[in-house]
């Protein structure tokens, strides 16, 4: 257990101070340190699979109040140790991994649904609330958060905001950056900020949008107010299978162009379709498109009717594939275990955004870059009038190569192809450790400005250092 036993970043005075500040809500136990040494980045799971743990945190704290966090940051500034904000550790890009040790700040004791404003369709909740808990509480009052990442059971509101996440129905409800209305956060200096609830404001740069997606590097998000929606009166699906990906994409593009707002848009490429339809027991080849609408019956009916015109090039498969998808919408996450339990297999997912002009180029480039290396499956989801997200899944056998290295090469090829073909390297998983080198390439000079801004805001570099290509 060398990593647990490695030299601590924090010394005895800090340990004692943490004990005073957090009492029974601080842990230095090696079992806890081991549990918090990784998140769900598949690369870190490959290391675990080899029986190793990478760098462990020195301690974990569970604050209950904003003042607890203010005191923690003051201590970190004084003694210059890293703080890694932590929700439920479901990041798949390594954003929650304490690569330089220090203290994990686990926010799950701050997990209340604080209030609902039914008139304004807003709710306020603390950052540590788990997604499924939040949704069930809203459902009990007749509302939905409209945000359904496949990590719904194992991710928190704070994590969604910090990582700029997307839910499976984001085409209707928006990504998390579209849903957030105001934030409370603690900046690295210890200053607590609370932005104002307003539908929109012209009061200078949007601080919420600066913190959303900052992955814990610019502040600790402690609570937020977000939009909610009445539970839908109805939910209906349509589906069709297309001979080519291009035809399917054209159908989606035209649906978005006429102003429809489907909750679910999923176009599976041929390989992914084979997987999806075999589970359904349908013997169909091609590229499956699932559309789902929800809301008021009359509006849903109109949108479905309008969408059907766009599906003319495909073969109608009715409602069943959509219903089946909805019933199984979180099931894909369970597949990871089956694959990783084989000690030579690797897998990962990549979500890239591209305009309609670029999307086929990006899709083809990634497929080509990984041809013969790993199996590539893809579906297109989270649609916009201007483009769409491509969600690739990679599965491969490392052969004689060490799986960790095989996996790294897979990423090098995939992200290189995205960058060269004009896509954005992340639609909703974020950057973390995994995509940091490519972020610099995508942002160019803007990344230098980001580094400078971070240095100004966090001169001691205490908040989640080493992530997003930051020092």
């Amino acid at each position: 257990m060398s990593s647990v036993a490695s030299l601590p970043v924090i010394g005895q005075p800090v340990r004692e101070a943490l004990g005073v500040l957090f009492g029974e809500h601080v842990s230095f136990r090696k079992t806890d340190r081991l549990a918090y040494h990784r998140d769900l980045m598949p690369g870190s799971l490959l290391t675990v699979r080899e029986g190793e743990a990478s760098t462990c945190p020195d301690a974990i704290v569970w604050p209950q109040t904003v003042q607890d966090i203010v005191a923690l940051l003051a201590l970190a500034n004084e003694h210059k140790f890293p703080i890694v904000p932590y929700g439920a550790g479901s990041s798949v890009v390594g954003a929650a991994i304490p690569i330089r040790g220090g203290v994990i700040c686990d926010l799950k004791r701050k997990a209340r649904l604080v209030r609902m404003d039914e008139k304004s369709l807003l709710y306020t909740a603390e950052a540590g609330i788990l997604g499924e808990d939040l949704e069930r509480k809203l459902n009990a009052a007749g509302f939905t958060c409209g945000h359904f990442p496949s990590s719904m059971y194992c991710s928190t509101l704070g994590g969604w905001l910090a990582m700029r996440s997307a839910g499976q129905m984001s085409t209707r409800y928006g990504k998390i950056e579209d849903l957030v209305v105001s934030l409370e956060a603690v900046l690295p200096s210890g200053q607590v900020i609370q932005t104002r609830n307003a539908p929109r404001s012209a009061t200078g740069p949007d601080i919420d949008q600066l913190l959303v997606g900052s992955e814990g590097t610019l502040g600790v998000i402690t609570r937020a107010t977000l939009r909610m929606f009445p539970l839908p009166e109805t939910r209906r699906f349509a589906s069709a299978v297309f001979a080519t990906v291009e035809q399917g994409l054209e159908a989606v593009r035209s649906i978005m162009r006429i102003g429809c707002r489907p909750a679910v848009v999923r176009l599976y490429d041929e390989v992914d379709t084979a997987l999806a339809l075999s589970s359904l027991g349908l013997d169909v080849t091609g590229n499956l498109l699932i559309l789902g609408y929800e809301g008021r019956e009359r509006i849903v009916s109109s949108e479905l009717a309008a969408s059907h015109e766009a599906l003319a090039d495909g073969r109608d498969l009715g409602e069943e594939p959509g219903k089946w998808w909805f019933e199984h919408r979180y099931k894909i996450s369970y597949k990871q275990s089956i694959i990783l339990a084989n000690d030579r297999m690797v897998l990962d997912t990549l979500e890239v955004a591209a305009t309609w002009t670029r999307v086929l180029d990006v899709y083809a480039a990634v497929k080509k870059a990984l041809e013969g290396y790993v199996t590539v499956l893809a579906h297109f989801s989270h649609a916009y009038p201007e483009g769409i997200n491509i969600y690739f899944s990679f599965v491969g056998h490392a052969g004689e190569t060490r799986p960790v290295e095989f996996h790294q090469e897979m990423w090098r090829r995939a992200l290189g192809a995205v960058a060269e073909s004009g896509g954005s390297i992340s639609h909703h998983h974020g950057i973390g450790l995994l995509k940091a080198p490519w972020l610099k390439r995508e942002l160019g000079g803007l990344h230098e400005a980001f580094v400078a801004f971070k240095a100004e805001l966090d001169p001691n570099n205490i908040l989640n250092p080493g992530k997003m290509g930051l020092p």
Binding site: M1, V4, G51, A53, W62, R109, L130, Y153, C154, Q336
Partner: protein, 367 residues
């Protein structure tokens, strides 16, 4: 290698994106990733591969599971985490790693045949008249309830009289339970010896009725795993009461707002959901209210898996959370088929809603 027989379970949970963590009672109570099913299994995985050590700190993590089984309801692979933790606990004990807070439980079992101490004289005194009869049916009380309050047996005796139960004797001891907590705390050798002794006393009984679903689960599932088989028919208290009440005219129709809590051992463990509900409906005149998490999705009260011995404060947190859920249904009272669960929920102590085990509730309502 510890828990070697559970390779699939350990690997699948280690590489799972924690799909069950939001329902795991210990994970919720402690807010610690370490005690999620994924966290516990990852620790075990690393120990198996030399990346961590099996020591008292690791053993303590393996004890942080109530055995409620709700994780399995959210597992596409039907992984059962509790048997893996039991195996790891037993492996730790074999290595000489005994958690300090479990030592007195072991001592009490070895000396008195139950986890709490010298209960037998008072117990025999209380139930003496019921011991003397020739009986075909043994009724085994819940030792946790007996330890908490010997008067709890009065309710049982009253109900037996009221229902005119024939050929029923109370369990004579000397051991006063199945050894559930010996098993839960990893004392496998002692559990096997306890099971053999229990089976010797039970020999010849046509039927064994267990007040504790944990005991019923233990003798039907874990005794055979340890080579001990009972010849008797084994049923739970609520099944037995359901059979008896089903045949009788019942006058009491109290129409109260009764909220029913499914004990994990009775529900997910034994697959019994309806008998206690039928009894409540029959006596109360209306069906019981339901928790929002009920039947196969019922949440734990924190008592099971030895957790109330190993981490009592967190066990109380779990009970309080269940009571908070109960309050949302505005019940007059909460009823559960397990006296141990009833005690655990009562001990949460933050609610004005009374909690009864089925027998105590029945004694009250039948009178």
């Amino acid at each position: 290698v510890i828990a070697e027989e559970f390779k699939r379970e350990t690997e699948y949970c280690t590489f799972c994106p924690k799909m069950c963590r939001f329902v795991c009672p210990t994970a919720i109570a402690e807010n610690r990733e370490t005690v999620t099913p994924t966290g516990r299994q990852t620790l075990l995985y690393l120990i198996q591969r030399g990346g961590a050590e099996l020591d008292s700190e690791a053993a303590a993590v393996f004890h942080q599971c109530t055995g409620c089984g709700l994780c399995t309801e959210y597992c596409d692979h039907d992984i059962e985490v509790y048997p893996v933790m039991l195996s790891a606990r037993a492996a730790a004990v074999k290595e000489g790693i005994v958690l300090p807070q479990t030592r007195h439980v072991l001592d009490n079992y070895l000396q008195y045949g139950n986890p709490y101490g010298n209960l037998l004289p008072a117990y025999l005194n209380k139930v003496g008249q019921r011991l003397l009869r020739e009986a075909q049916i043994f009724y085994v009380p819940d030792v946790t309830a007996v330890a908490r309050n010997q008067a709890s047996l009065d309710a049982t005796l009253r109900v037996l009289e009221k229902l005119g139960a024939e050929n029923v004797a109370l369990w004579p001891g000397p051991m006063l339970c199945s050894g559930y907590n010996l098993h839960a705390l990893g004392f496998e050798d002692e559990f096997r010896a306890h099971a053999v002794a229990f089976a010797e006393v039970a020999a010849g009984a046509r039927t064994l009725v267990f007040a504790s679903p944990h005991d019923a689960l233990t003798v039907t599932q874990h005794y055979p795993e340890h080579g001990v088989k009972l010849d008797s028919r084994v049923i739970t208290e609520s099944e037995w009461l359901d059979e008896m009440i089903g045949k009788r005219q019942i006058a009491s129709q109290t129409q109260r707002r009764v909220l029913y809590h499914d004990p994990c051992a009775q529900g997910r463990g034994l697959g019994q959901y309806e008998a206690p509900r039928r009894i409540i409906t029959r006596i109360n005149g209306v069906a019981p209210l339901e928790f929002s998490w009920n039947r196969n999705e019922s949440k734990c009260c924190g008592w099971g898996g030895g957790y109330a011995f190993t981490v009592p404060e967190s066990a109380k947190v779990i009970a309080r959370q269940r009571i908070e859920e109960a309050v949302e249904e505005t019940p007059d009272e909460i009823v559960t088929a397990s006296p141990s669960c009833a005690g655990q929920l009562q001990a949460a102590g933050s609610s004005s809603v009374p909690v009864y085990d089925l027998m105590s509730w029945l004694a009250m309502r039948l009178s």
